[in-house]
């Protein structure tokens, strides 16, 4: 990590942000606030929809999937969000001199692609990923998001057991030749900081270019860039939050995600109760149902489980994959490739098959306040989050459920 020894106040400020990693709970709180702002502007944070949009655009360039209407990436808020998370993370990695092209052993790249492919299937079947159906879906008071979360948790545990088995019995799969390019040491490589400035200026120009015609996009670009940078600096990752208590027993990743969830829960509930934001375009009911997807319960269960399997094998959730792409982790480039290439295929072939089998009672929109009122739904979700916090802290102290 980069840390200049000058005493100039600006250098001190720069070192505060980029000299070392941020505590993940700081990242979680800021991401929760930015997520609330995104919702106030239009709709909450999500990743899988944008990933599928990028995939659709790639396939349409090659004329695949017939005459399907594809929204260009530069006109799709979430397609741009995906690109900007990567760019923001790229800037954060450059400022901290952590950027490098890290090429892992072959087996890791294969696991990256397979993990990405599983995440793509899980996200398309479950209508959402670790962000849309968990980090945003749970604060949106969606019953389906709770099912998705429990199923994702089950997928993570099973997948972690596989990884431990693989390490014990097939160590060669994660060993072999690796290469690192463009890396610098903390006292050298000023070019990374300069390139970081160029990337930030480009993001600002990109945002400004939309200001006159599409203010929502202009804000999405700025906030997504910030989210990428913050995720990289705090190493915010959903898979870490679910996996680490059962692997190393550590709770830092969980604390960060929990902090973000609580902030978003308060912000989202206020937006929904008062119908804040783009209410002129939508009815209050439509505002309430934002990010409450028609996946309760079987679609959420199937999708969440498959997504949990995939993100653990890949070593990065949806956002964890994207910001590690910006940091130069080639394994996660393969995960992103799996996500991008398999999402449109799954939407075309797997999702219709699943939908034709499941009755309507297994794929409807479950909005918790409809059953429990706003106070009951809020307290239920907050109670579950606090229960999780209690569990990870107790487990961190006792090591009862940690593998190592």
């Amino acid at each position: 990590m980069s840390e200049s020894k000058s005493n100039h106040p600006l250098v001190h400020l720069f070192n505060t942000f980029f000299g070392k990693h941020w505590p993940v709970w700081v990242g979680g709180i800021v991401l929760g606030m930015l997520n609330t702002i995104l919702f106030a502007i239009k709709s909450p944070w999500g990743a899988s929809g944008g990933v599928a949009n990028v995939g659709d655009n790639i396939y349409s360039v090659f004329g695949l999937f017939g005459n399907k209407e594809v929204v260009p990436i530069n006109e799709n808020n979430y397609g741009m969000l995906v690109i900007l998370i990567v760019l923001g993370s790229f800037a954060g990695a450059l400022f901290s001199k952590e950027f490098a092209l890290r090429i892992p052993p072959k087996g890791e790249m294969i696991k990256g692609f397979l993990g990405g492919a599983l995440m793509a299937i899980g996200a398309t079947v479950g209508i959402g990923c670790s962000i849309g159906s968990f980090f945003s879906g749970v604060p949106a008071l969606s019953g389906g998001a709770l099912v998705f979360t429990f199923a994702m948790f089950a997928g993570v545990i099973l997948s972690l057991k596989y990884l431990i088995w693989e390490m014990e019995n097939r160590p060669g799969w994660s060993s072999g030749k690796s290469f690192t390019y463009l890396a610098v040491t903390p006292d050298k490589g000023r070019w990374q900081v300069i390139l970081g400035v160029v990337v930030v200026v480009l993001i600002a120009i990109m945002s400004y270019s939309y200001a006159a015609t599409n203010m929502v996009m202009a804000w999405f670009i700025l906030i997504s860039g910030l989210m990428g940078l913050i995720s990289q600096r705090s190493r915010f990752c959903i898979v870490k939050a679910f996996r680490d208590p059962f692997m190393s027993g550590e709770a830092h990743g969980s604390e960060g995600v929990i902090a973000g969830l609580v902030v978003s829960l308060v912000g989202f509930t206020a937006i929904k109760v008062f119908g804040l934001g783009s209410i002129s375009e939508l009815s209050l009911r439509a505002r309430e149902m934002t990010w409450v997807f028609p996946h309760f319960w079987a679609k959420a269960a199937a999708g969440g489980f498959i997504f949990g399997l995939g993100m653990t094998i890949a070593g990065g959730c949806a956002v964890g994959t994207l910001w590690r792409v910006g940091e130069g982790q080639i394994k996660l480039w393969f995960s992103a490739l799996g996500l991008i290439l398999i999402s449109p295929l799954s939407n075309t072939f797997i999702v219709p098959a699943v939908d034709s089998v499941l009755p309507q009672t297994m794929k409807f929109r479950n909005y918790l306040p409809d059953y429990l009122g706003y106070d009951g739904a809020f307290l239920l979700v907050l109670g579950l989050i606090l229960l999780w916090y209690w569990f990870v802290k107790w487990n961190e102290r006792t090591g009862k459920f940690s593998a190592f």
Binding site: P104, E108, M167, E168, T185, R243, H252, F404
Partner: protein
């Protein structure tokens, strides 16, 4: 300090370096030192945190050329 075991985690990303370190530490005795070479920036935070939690001693961390970091941990 005598290094008892060295593991190569270069090119690996989260969670593989931490898994390999934890597995290697199981094979060491109290007071033995483990040396690890890695390239994942996350390990620079994860390994000291894990040592704090487990009571193992995080001895040193050195940035080398080529984006490689050398870390040494002593088993408690």
């Amino acid at each position: 300090m005598e290094i008892k075991m060295t593991i190569d985690c270069k090119g690996l990303s989260c969670p593989m370096p931490m898994m390999k370190v934890a597995k290697a530490m199981k094979e060491l005795k109290t007071g033995d030192a483990l040396e690890m070479f890695g390239t994942d920036p996350g390990t620079k935070t994860d390994l000291p945190n894990w040592c704090t939690k487990t009571g193992n001693e995080f001895v040193e961390m050195t940035d080398l050329e080529g984006g490689i970091t050398r870390m040494v941990v002593k088993k408690a």
